[in-house]
């Protein structure tokens, strides 16, 4: 995205800043720009609210993902079994 001039953003840039903010990757300038944009834009205000709720929900869910190595191991086992079946049926 382009650097916001005088803190003026269009809606898609505002959404982008808003997403970054949820990952603590928005600069102070970007954060300020969202606040100003949201003052005048209901659509983005709603998006910001929903977006931060979503972050809270994901945190609350405490999802545990398999690591890519763990997935690779499982894939390997499954692949071996698939090839075993393929060779026994042919």
């Amino acid at each position: 995205m382009q650097k916001p001039k005088f803190f003026i953003l269009n809606c898609s840039d505002a959404a982008n800043c808003c997403d970054k903010k949820e990952y603590n990757e928005a600069s102070i300038r970007e954060k300020t720009s969202i606040i100003i944009h949201n003052l005048f834009c209901k659509k983005c205000r709603d998006y910001s609210a929903k977006n931060s709720k979503l972050t809270q929900l994901i945190k609350k869910a405490r999802i545990k993902a398999c690591t890519s190595e763990e997935k690779r191991d499982i894939k390997e086992k499954l692949k071996q079994e698939i090839s075993k079946q393929g060779s026994s049926s042919s």
Partner: protein, 183 residues
């Protein structure tokens, strides 16, 4: 013609996280949870001719995993019995009782939280199944593993602006999917 079909080549990418989350809450051990997930996929593969297509792939795999978890509890049952006996042989009787109460209380509270969160957790993972698998993987690495932007971009060979577009789509899709019940 059955409504649902099995596609074992996609199982790990599509369902591993979902099954893993179901298992780890119940067995509380990463390694065992992973073993149960592998066993589930293998059992699914071996009994795929029994799949009638009435349930979705995920529902069917979860039903297999449920049985695997029950089998696991049966297997460890005797070991658990031994642990309980050991608690009763505590030197200081009062201290032992206090410890046991403390453990029970902690367990109840965390079990309650877990039940509340599990529904949400599985709902999120179900919603993520509906979006492009690569986008889901990118979203999970960034959001759930908390990887930094550079690491995700390297792993998936994408630019930061690609990343943010994907993250935005994933978040929008996820919010829509969760909206009715959770947001």
């Amino acid at each position: 013609m059955p409504k649902h079909k099995l596609d074992p080549n996609k199982w790990v990418d599509k369902y591993a996280d979902y099954l893993f989350n179901y298992a780890i809450v119940r067995v509380n051990d990463r390694e065992i949870a992973n073993d149960l997930v592998s066993e589930t996929f293998l059992a699914g593969l071996n009994s795929k001719d029994n799949f009638l297509g009435k349930a979705s792939e995920r529902t069917w795999l979860i039903s297999i995993l449920k049985r695997k978890v029950i089998d696991y509890y049966r297997r460890i049952n005797s070991q658990k019995g031994k642990a309980e006996v050991r608690i009763n042989y505590s030197d200081d009787e009062n201290n032992g009782e206090w410890l046991e109460e403390q453990v029970a209380d902690d367990f109840d509270r965390s079990a309650e939280d877990e039940m509340e969160n599990e529904e949400l957790r599985l709902a999120i993972l179900e919603c993520l199944d509906e979006i492009n698998p690569k986008h889901a993987a990118i979203f999970k690495m960034k959001t759930i593993d908390g990887a930094d932007t550079e690491a995700v971009c390297n792993e998936f060979k994408i630019t930061p602006s690609n990343l943010w577009v994907i993250i935005h789509r994933a978040r929008t899709a996820l919010a829509t999917c969760l909206e009715k019940k959770w947001l």
